[in-house]
Subunit: 206 residues, 2 copies
């Protein structure tokens, strides 16, 4: 095995370091977060840091870069209190990746890419058309991670839309059936195949 | 598409709710966290919530269940200050899943499953043999997520071990080459195939 000591890690060049460290957490989720500013200007941006925090109450988190680094997503959520999380499938993968470009603040990624916004059941933030899973979220709170000033944004699930072919009879969402991708490192997108479900969430001791 | 309103979500039965909500974040990482108590008793447990927080400093987070629900992982980390994160491959997938069973506090999952602990370069916590990626972690801090009292544990990467076949020349870790799995919902394990890398982390606007 290749070994990196702390000293090795500290002396890596910047791009190598980003590639390496970004891969160390394992596979990541691929989501487009849709928001709208108080003035009506829409925003959509790709995130690979959405995490499950709990099912009752149903809450999700995601990591936002430091406020000092900018970001319409954070500002729009604070202005309106709502956002959407949309799953990235192969169909919208390349367009989704392009939302990470540094557009000017007043430019909507919905206009600069082929992604289409859609409004469902009067929810106040835009969903992304063609996403196989779409979630309406209400902002709850945030935590600033001190070592690097990233922000854990916490929100409650308000509404859910799922393609029928993904939803199994016991509530399991078969993500592979929607060609939903997993993220590998900073720039890799992987297709998946469900290999195994084990019968119980918390199996009995052997 | 199937739609769930907030009212629908609130009236789901418990297992359906767990399956559904656990799938909504998208694919999750599959990791075994290794720890040892001050008295030398080892522990290893599966987590699907390890997330990348930043590459400089190199820090990772993971979500631990509320302290009131128990958990040797949290206690051992607080006692020793160190832990390991090990990637789950198909080779150790079933054994890894079994670590989520409710063993008694004084029982080591290393003894109750076929997972083997190993100590590398005097690091104070046990790694998991046969894991294709192993990371030595130093505890930094924690944040209690108020809505459900789960805990975001934040640590710094101290050492890294990677199978040679996974590591590409630019530092990218090809997780699929190690048969590393992604987690789908509470109990699904997926195999992956790297589909596409895009040339830049932050692509230029179109």
């Amino acid at each position: 095995m290749r070994c990196f000591t702390q000293s090795d890690l500290n002396s890596l060049d910047a791009l190598y370091r980003i590639n390496l460290i970004n891969g160390l957490s394992g596979f990541k989720s691929a989501n487009l977060i849709g928001t709208v500013a108080a003035d009506g200007n829409e925003n959509v941006a790709i995130f690979s840091s959405v995490i499950h925090l709990g099912s009752d109450p149903p809450i999700l988190g995601f990591i936002h870069r430091p406020i000092t680094a900018g970001g319409n997503t954070y500002e729009n959520i604070k202005q309106t209190g709502f956002y959407t999380i949309n799953h990235l499938s192969t169909e919208i993968m390349e367009e989704g990746h392009h939302t990470s470009a540094n557009y000017d603040r007043d430019v909507s990624e919905f206009e600069m890419t082929n992604l289409k916004s859609e409004y469902l059941n009067d929810f106040k933030a835009p969903f992304v058309a063609h996403a196989p899973v779409k979630i309406g979220m209400k902002y709850l709170e945030e935590y600033v991670i001190k070592p690097n000033e990233t922000i854990l944004m916490v929100g409650e699930i308000i509404s859910v839309y799922i393609e029928d072919t993904l939803l199994e009879s016991d509530g399991f969402i078969n993500l592979s059936n929607g060609n939903i991708v997993a993220v590998n490192g900073p720039d890799g997108y992987s297709l998946t195949k469900l290999e195994q479900r084990y019968p119980l969430q918390y199996p009995k001791p052997k």
